[in-house]
């Protein structure tokens, strides 16, 4: 019997580093589930920036955001078998992170609230060296947004970040926050009104 098979690179099996970006998340999960640590590392790298951005704004503390990232990624790694593809990998990871963030926030309520340090970002609008005036304005707007976000109720802040910054569909935000789509829609609407009022001087 002959093997009637053919030699062509597949999406699931990239042949070069450039092709690696084409590997989709579910393929990385499949590999990570079978013990491929590089695949898990790629997933963490791919989604880590957005996850940390969310955790830091919910917790307003770098150390706690880092701890939450570690807890969430460890939980994802050890529960990889339970991911069945009912949601996107990103939604699944954010769901785990939200759980760890909430747990940490419950601890935080017993401690004085901390201010989010104003510096501590790279790659944002302040890095636009070609137009210093625009960069300064964007930086100012970002600072104002950070302050306004900090004053939002937790659910509004979480929903607005996920929906507007991370561009997650409302249904996915609802899954991450373990609530209804209607509740998400309402929270995002109220967040927009509150943030709009706070950012009035920037109109």
């Amino acid at each position: 019997m002959e093997c009637d098979v053919h030699h062509t690179p597949s999406k699931a099996a990239p042949s070069s580093a450039d092709d690696e970006r084409a590997v989709d998340d579910s393929e990385l999960v499949r590999r990570a589930r079978l013990g491929d640590k590089e695949a898990f590392g790629e997933l963490a790298t791919r989604h880590g920036t957005a996850m940390y951005r969310y955790a830091r704004r919910m917790l307003r503390d770098d150390g706690m955001a880092e701890d939450c990232m570690q807890d969430a990624l460890a939980a994802a790694l050890t529960s990889m078998e339970r991911f069945r593809g009912e949601s996107t990998v990103r939604t699944w990871l954010f769901g785990i992170l939200t759980h760890t963030v909430r747990r940490r926030m419950r601890v935080m309520t017993r401690h004085p609230e901390q201010e989010l340090p104003p510096e501590g970002a790279v790659g944002g609008p302040a890095d636009r060296a070609d137009d210093p005036a625009a960069a300064a304005q964007a930086h100012g707007l970002l600072e104002a947004l950070e302050l306004a976000l900090a004053d939002l109720p937790d659910l509004q802040r979480a929903c607005w970040i996920l929906a507007e910054v991370e561009r997650m569909p409302y249904a996915d935000v609802a899954r991450v926050q373990a609530t209804s789509v209607g509740a998400v829609r309402g929270a995002v609407h109220r967040a927009r009104l509150n943030l709009g009022r706070r950012l009035e001087p920037w109109r």
Binding site: V5, H6, P9, D36, K37, T49, D62, V122, P125, E166
Partner: protein, 175 residues
């Protein structure tokens, strides 16, 4: 009630959201490597299987064995994708931490258009070789049953030149 321009609000908020979206927190840049290293060291609870080499017995965590089998079959440009690897491990003998590997079941997806029986047979051979290599030179791999379950097919690109199966470069065709 104040009259506000929703369009202006939306524009400012969109700009602000975009600014935040472009931002990478320095804290994450600083921490990500150490966080990832700590996460990857996390130990998953697992069974152990007994291996044998000239110096005696050793124990191997089943996730390691699974990873070896996956790596042997899941090769770039191969015909199969491993969906799952299950190990059946017997109870450990008295004073032993690891039981004997009795069977390995590999759940596969094969590329659409490939000859399933031939590809599966090559995969079985590659899996058996991987088990044998992982469990030491003195391990008798003939005692281990390697079952294959072809559970899915995945799309294959356009047909071109003849393909090799899993590790076929190292193996002669089975038939």
């Amino acid at each position: 009630m104040a009259v506000t321009s929703d369009g202006d609000h939306d524009h400012v908020l969109a700009r602000a959201a975009e600014g935040l979206r472009e931002l990478t927190d320095e804290g994450w840049v600083r921490a990500r490597e150490s966080v990832l290293a700590r996460v990857l060291r996390a130990v998953r609870p697992s069974d152990h299987v007994a291996g044998r080499h000239a110096g005696g017995r050793f124990a191997l965590a089943t996730p390691l064995l699974v990873d070896r089998v996956r790596a042997a079959l899941d090769v770039p440009e191969g015909e199969v994708r491993v969906l799952d690897v299950r190990c059946v491990v017997g109870p450990p003998a008295q004073d032993a931490v690891a039981g004997e590997l009795e069977a390995v079941t590999v759940v596969l997806s094969v590329r659409f258009g490939s000859r399933i029986a031939g590809t599966a047979e090559l995969a079985r051979g590659a899996a058996a070789d991987a088990v044998s290599a992982a469990l030491g030179a003195d391990f008798d791999a003939r005692l281990v049953t390697v079952d294959l379950h072809v559970a899915d097919v995945h799309p294959g690109p356009a047909r071109g030149r003849p393909e090799t199966g899993p590790r076929q470069a190292d193996r002669s065709p089975s038939t």
